[in-house]
């Protein structure tokens, strides 16, 4: 298999993946910094390069509603959004998951208003963390491209049947140009395979009802079934990631450990900050500092056990959150990881670090400083601090 090397921004890479998936329906509404994904895709539609029915709707609420209708009708369905757009979808986000519709969405992570801001933080998709969607973060455009392709398989797997959001960091990945390896159309098609909707509303021979009311007698059972589907996804995501690796040379899992196994000080991060951290770790390792990184690729389902095993023998860990649960005890990644470690016999000194809100830059010096502070025991354990804010 010959890979095709291209220079692509994150948005272009995600649009290309969508083109190669060639879904039956895309319903979308533009929003910065995700606009390009569906704009480029609509050009593919206009040029006849895909067979997709493109539904240009009047809001994101309508976009997700149209996606739900189309997925229930049996169509392979995709969309893209960001921030306020995702917030406007919120009602429909829960419905897509509850109806077990395998929609794949590209989301470019961006801060939520107010104050209005267009830059990267993870508040938008973190706000949907309890909705039942699978949630995959990308470190760079390559991962965004690869994950969009894998997401189709994960969502449609019969043991999962849940919608998937694949995210990139706003502007940092969405608008940064990178060299990426892309696959020939035919390889993407053979990897994702033919879609079997299992049940669909256009099947007139088997009429059924979608979206019926469930009161005190059945609602709980349906939510409980979603928990199983998320747990099944832990296995399915790894299988799909390994198959991707076998065919196309890059393996994907739930987490990635970078110089972690013998690390004394480590940070946990999502998205593009992982790339920056790896460069810092390389430098610190040359200076004899045993620094490491745990990258969380998949936030839902949360790989609780894998994370606990990866971190339990490390002395000091800082968990970086690019969103804050205002009024809670730290950001969502910190609270989940601290909770995951609670049952471990040995556990690290752990602290939460909220950073980068509204696109506030995080640079190598700051990450290096954080590692040195961790090493020197200057970061208070079981506490939350704010990195890069004027206090």
């Amino acid at each position: 298999m010959q890979k095709i090397i291209l220079a692509k921004t994150g948005n272009e890479a995600m649009a290309l993946a969508m083109k190669q998936v060639n879904p039956d329906v895309v319903a979308a509404y533009p929003i910065t910094p995700a606009t390009e994904i569906v704009q480029i895709f609509s050009q593919y539609v206009a040029d006849g390069e895909v067979k997709t029915e493109f539904v240009a709707v009047e809001s994101e609420h309508s976009a997700m509603s149209a996606c739900i209708g189309s997925a229930a009708a049996g169509a392979r369905t995709m969309t893209g959004t960001s921030s306020q757009g995702l917030a406007l979808m919120y009602e429909m986000i829960y419905i897509a998951a509850g109806l077990r519709l395998p929609i794949v969405m590209a989301d470019v992570n961006r801060a939520l208003s107010a104050p209005i801001n267009i830059h990267c933080d993870h508040s938008d998709t973190m706000g949907c963390r309890d909705a039942g969607w699978i949630h995959i973060f990308s470190e760079n455009a390559q991962e965004a491209y690869d994950s969009m392709i894998q997401a189709v398989r994960i969502a449609e797997h019969q043991d999962v049947r849940l919608p998937v959001m694949v995210t990139t960091d706003g502007f940092i990945i969405s608008h940064g140009m990178e060299r990426i390896d892309t696959l020939p159309d035919a390889d993407v098609q053979s990897f994702i395979g033919k879609y079997d909707p299992m049940m669909h509303l256009l099947d007139v021979k088997k009429p059924f009802t979608v979206g019926a009311i469930n009161l005190t007698d059945y609602y709980f059972e349906h939510r409980r079934a979603m928990v199983d589907a998320q747990n099944n996804a832990l296995k399915v995501i790894k299988e799909v990631g390994q198959e991707f690796g076998k065919k196309f040379d890059t393996n994907y899992g739930l987490i990635e450990k970078y110089q972690l196994d013998d690390a004394e000080v480590a940070i946990v991060a999502l998205g593009s900050t992982c790339g920056t951290s790896k460069v810092v770790i390389d430098k610190l390792r040359q200076q004899g500092v045993k620094a490491g990184l745990l990258k969380v690729r998949v936030f839902r389902p949360f790989p609780t056990e894998e994370i606990a095993r990866a971190l339990e023998n490390i002395r000091t860990v800082a968990v970086l959150d690019r969103s804050d649960s205002v009024g809670g005890f730290g950001g969502p990644v910190f609270t989940e990881i601290r909770s995951a470690l609670y049952g471990s016999a040995k556990k690290p000194q752990i602290s939460g670090v909220v950073y980068g809100l509204g696109g506030r830059e995080i640079d190598m010096e700051q990450i290096e400083g954080l590692f040195m502070d961790l090493k020197a025991g200057k970061v208070k354990a079981d506490a939350v601090s704010y990195l890069g804010v004027r206090e």
Partner: protein, 98 residues
């Protein structure tokens, strides 16, 4: 009601895996008034049957015979639309007093 199913026995996403199941769901029990049929005033125009939003008007051999009170919600549309005979309605609404 039959025994409640466990979560693993349910259809995906709360789907109801066959059609026409609304008939099994008795919706008539929150009605506050009910239609009363007066056959002597009925001209069998079937307006009531056409207009009833709940398909609760019972026909036998193409003729109105009464109402399915398991599904009639007491909206009164049938009585409103009924032309009756010589301006005397063949359907009147009566308050439910139970």
């Amino acid at each position: 009601m039959s025994e409640l199913k466990k979560y693993k026995e349910l259809a995906l996403g709360g789907n109801i895996e066959k059609g026409g199941t609304a008939v099994d769901f008795k919706t008539g029990d929150w009605r506050s008034s009910r239609p009363i049929y007066h056959p002597e005033n009925c001209i069998q125009c079937l307006f009531c049957w056409v207009y009833c939003p709940d398909s609760a008007v019972i026909l036998k051999d193409g003729k109105v015979t009464g109402f399915n009170l398991d599904h009639c919600k007491g909206c009164g549309i049938c009585a409103h639309e009924c032309p009756g005979k010589k301006k005397v309605k063949a359907i009147t609404m009566e308050e439910e007093v139970k």
